[in-house]
């Protein structure tokens, strides 16, 4: 899996660099308009686009066909994409923390509570969206999977709202907002794991031509 991950890092290198620089610049820019830590909602989602660049590149270069003939199992191929997705999300989150911490040190109001809350929302949205779009990337052709990729972020927002409203039935969200979004995060993580298992099952039986 290490070799396949390295290949994806090579492919996504320029995209990752652009994302990192953009997030840092955006972080400082946002501080004039709204709470800087809100960047943590956007950052993990934005940084995962590189996964779909690598999936499209794999199909275009026929790597997805070639790699099946190498000592890498289909399960490892899918597992690597999910690991790559999480790595990029974490990288996005860490990058977004840089302007937050710098501005916090300069006296701008950045609290641990807001960092945890927005970080939780950002990672939840990323895991939910990835749980929808990653299996679809192996079910549909590249054009359709790009549409699914974009729609998955809208869907994830809707799902988060739905989970929060459901949580509110037995836990007052306004008073326990961080706990409520941690519940959302736990459900999102479970969803992402189930999606991984489904993607592996789908890919085991898929013809690669």
């Amino acid at each position: 899996m290490k070799g396949v991950l390295l290949k994806d890092l090579y492919i996504a290198k320029s995209n990752i660099l652009v994302t990192v620089v953009s997030l840092v610049v955006l972080g400082f820019g946002l501080s004039f308009l709204l709470e800087t830590s809100a960047l943590l909602v956007l950052a993990p989602v934005a940084s995962t686009t590189a996964v779909f660049i690598s999936i499209t590149s794999d199909a275009a270069s026929k790597w997805n066909k070639n790699v099946i003939t190498m000592p890498v199992s289909r399960g490892q191929i899918i597992g690597e994409k999910f690991v790559f997705y999480i790595l990029l999300a974490v990288l996005g989150l860490v990058t977004a923390l840089i302007p937050c911490l710098i501005l916090g040190a300069l006296g701008v109001d950045v609290t641990l509570h807001s960092l945890c809350l927005y970080g939780s929302i950002g990672i939840s949205a990323t895991l939910l969206a990835g749980g929808i779009s990653l299996p679809c990337a192996y079910l549909f052709d590249p054009e359709k999977s790009q549409i699914v990729f974009m729609m998955s972020f809208m869907a994830s927002t809707g799902i988060i709202v739905g989970i929060v409203l459901l949580t509110n039935l037995f836990l007052p969200v306004k008073e326990n907002i961080l706990l409520a979004f941690n519940i959302v995060l736990a459900i999102s993580a479970l969803w992402f794991f189930i999606s991984y298992r489904v993607a592996v099952k789908v890919y085991q039986k898929r013809d690669i031509i």
Binding site: K2, G3, V4, L6, K7, Y10, I11, S57, D58, A60, S61, K62, W63, K65, N66, I68, T69, M70, P71, V72, S73, K205, D207, I208, I209
Partner: protein, 283 residues
């Protein structure tokens, strides 16, 4: 003689095509050419044998083992037509990737091959010519101590000089007695140069699997007129084709036929002609 690669009863059904009970072997130490027109089922056979597509029936044995596990894949090198690797990579970056995929990756052998084929290690693959990309793919396939090479239309679209370089690489590889090659191609002249056996696939079925020398040295074509054709013993005819001014009849033993029909013109048959007669001729 042991077989490096055996497929037996390989079957795959598509709405408009059926790969029907394909069986053949690649004996150890030999080069087997898989021939057939475009769409005959060569790539489908290779894809099904390599597990790229789900087969409905049949067995595949590679290097004495049933199926394709990780250990077996360590010992096979596969090269497909066109691009084989992400084009943003350079050969040096590809080395880093492959080193982490193959336990048996031999970096020294890889860079030696790059040098031998004048492939710049730091140039992105996207700036390589088609011939250079193919040489790189073969170099990578040879750099993890492969015992079996499988090439699917690897020489298609390459100029004769590059094709000749690649054929030399393949001949070099098979000098080791436990090295074997399965190469599919519709450029039969290439296979005439290097193959020990020819497997001919037509409409998803194996038409024949024979030693190349038998085909080239024994098979022949009787070129005759209508009267002479009528006089031929039908048991001697494998296939025939009516051309504008003559009949072409494929026979299995041209010397025997020359003696049997002294007035007939019996000429040697190239693999191309044999394939054409099978595809376009009648039985």
């Amino acid at each position: 003689m042991t077989n490096a690669f055996t497929v037996s009863g390989l079957t795959k059904t598509y709405p408009d095509f059926v790969l029907d009970q394909v069986s053949f072997s690649v004996p150890s130490g030999s080069i087997v050419g898989l021939i057939g027109e475009n769409g005959a089922g060569k790539s489908t056979t290779i894809n099904a044998a390599l597990g790229l597509i789900q087969k409905e029936a049949g067995q595949v044995s590679v290097l004495g083992r049933e199926g394709l596990d990780g250990d077996t894949k360590e010992e096979i090198g596969v090269v497909f037509d066109g691009s084989n690797y992400p084009e943003i990579l350079s050969p040096r970056k590809l080395d880093g990737v492959m080193r982490n995929i193959y336990r048996s990756w031999d970096e020294t052998a890889y860079f030696r091959l790059l040098k031998q084929f004048s492939l710049p290690p730091d140039k992105p693959i996207k700036r390589f010519s088609k011939g250079m990309k193919m040489k790189l793919a073969i170099s990578a396939a040879l750099s993890h101590h492969s015992k079996l090479l499988i090439l699917d239309e690897a020489t298609s679209g390459l100029d004769p000089v590059i094709r000749d370089d690649i054929l030399d690489m393949l001949l070099d590889f098979v000098q080791e007695e436990d090295h074997s090659i399965l190469v599919s191609s519709h450029i039969t002249s290439d296979l005439e140069k290097i193959a020990d056996y020819i497997v001919f696939i037509h409409e998803g079925k194996v038409v024949f699997s024979k030693p190349k020398d038998e085909l080239v040295e024994q098979y022949g074509i009787i070129k005759c007129g209508a009267a002479q054709f009528d006089a031929l013993d039908k048991a001697d005819i494998i296939v025939y084709r009516k051309m504008d001014y003559e009949w072409q009849v494929l026979v299995a033993d041209r010397e025997k036929m020359q003696k049997k029909y002294p007035k007939a013109m019996v000429v040697p048959a190239t693999i191309d002609e044999i394939m054409l007669l099978y595809v376009k001729g009648e039985k």
